[in-house]
Subunit: 139 residues, 4 copies
């Protein structure tokens, strides 16, 4: 599991006085980028190698609202790895009181720069090994 910390920006709030719901998905992006970095796989370099991880599906369950200036922990784990697919689970937690604010999942496919599916085992075996090593429960 990877953990990354961020602070809620004023821009992320809405007139309900809490964080607008779609911003949690951006925080998930920050979380999975950090997770990939920690296993030695900078997503910037992944794209430079011609491999993309477009989002195929997202789910997010909102439990408690995040507020302006809160320090947020994004906890990310990868799952469901195959040659053509990778999913992530996220927990969005407020640091101060350890309150779980939201839980999310995103599902991704490996694609080339035209959006066509690629098999990462063949296209980028070094990335495959890094991911495989991280996911004991992988497939």
């Amino acid at each position: 599991m990877s953990v990354v910390e961020l602070r809620v920006r004023y821009q992320e709030t809405d007139q309900m006085g809490v964080v607008y719901h779609s911003n949690y998905l951006v925080w998930c992006e920050v979380g999975r980028t950090q997770m990939l970095r920690e296993i030695g796989m900078s997503y910037r370099e992944v794209e430079a190698a011609g491999i993309y991880l477009p989002v195929h599906e997202v789910n997010c369950y909102y439990k408690k609202p995040a507020k302006y200036d809160d320090i947020i922990l994004v906890k990310t784990v990868a799952k469901n790895l195959s040659g053509v697919r990778l999913d992530f689970d996220y927990q969005i937690v407020r640091k101060e009181d350890k309150q779980l604010l939201a839980e999310a999942t995103s599902c991704h496919v490996f694609a080339d720069d035209n959006g066509r599916p690629v098999n990462i085992k063949k296209k980028a075996p070094h990335l495959w090994k890094l991911l495989k090593a991280e996911l004991s429960e992988g497939c």
Copy 2:
């Protein structure tokens, strides 16, 4: 069903050359606002009456990418109405070729300005009637 049209903004794209995935949720917001307006229930006035519709859960399935300058149709239907809850289904369609780009669902609770659940049947019977009339498949 309500349909609202919007055009993809440059700001909504990302370096993959397509619309960043969380923006589809913003388009869903535009869709449900329009649906509520069409049944005579301006969400601005709903909030002015002290009732809020925070998002409890969202799901979005991405099928084809939206691109800059595309004209997008957001098709919205309400469902699962009860005194304390209301859900919406969305279809995100590109106008030009009628391509279905994404399907989404959002689940909402009725809340007061402190985020506490309220029963709209009691708190705002006129809004309840408007929603009830719209949803033949109601609860």
Copy 3:
């Protein structure tokens, strides 16, 4: 002058209960895209031709706050055209009461896909003619 209409999204508000200030710049983008379209110059096609209009400078003066669900008019005029540069002035007006909410200016350079300046007179004479015809005060 070009005029385009948009409606304020909930996502664009912040906890002050008004539109977050950086969103006005996005509306300016909507305005200049529309202006270019009206003179026969789809910015999508401009980019497809390998010409980009990155922003070099922006100024925005906020007079009255835009609010959720307001219908906004973005009035755009082009100015300061040269082979390597193009600027735009914007007025952001609330439709209902004709209130001027903000005034902005953006300055752009013509660039290639590596961000290097190009002279549009040479690189895309047909676009130069379209712009020149629009700007009587051009240079």
Copy 4:
């Protein structure tokens, strides 16, 4: 001068492959929030005390594009303090190569929760003292 560090999010890029220009203003918000925090003035608490700092004017000059995953330093200084006004200057710098990417200024007024100007010397003398101490060049 205050310095805060952030990493460019994928969501902040656009299809030009660089950060969309309006996001620099959000980074400036992060910068001034940090500066206020460092002088003992949490903006969250400022608002809780009924004082707001709406943006009256912004200027931003873009010199070099920020890119995905860049680590950015936002350097913020306050200036032009009076009882009713406060401005900030910002430098947006890429950490890796110390490249200056953008320079910006934002001008703010002190306002109450209805957006009416207030004199912070009277309304919140403790905040006035904190700011006055920070700004030797104050007025």
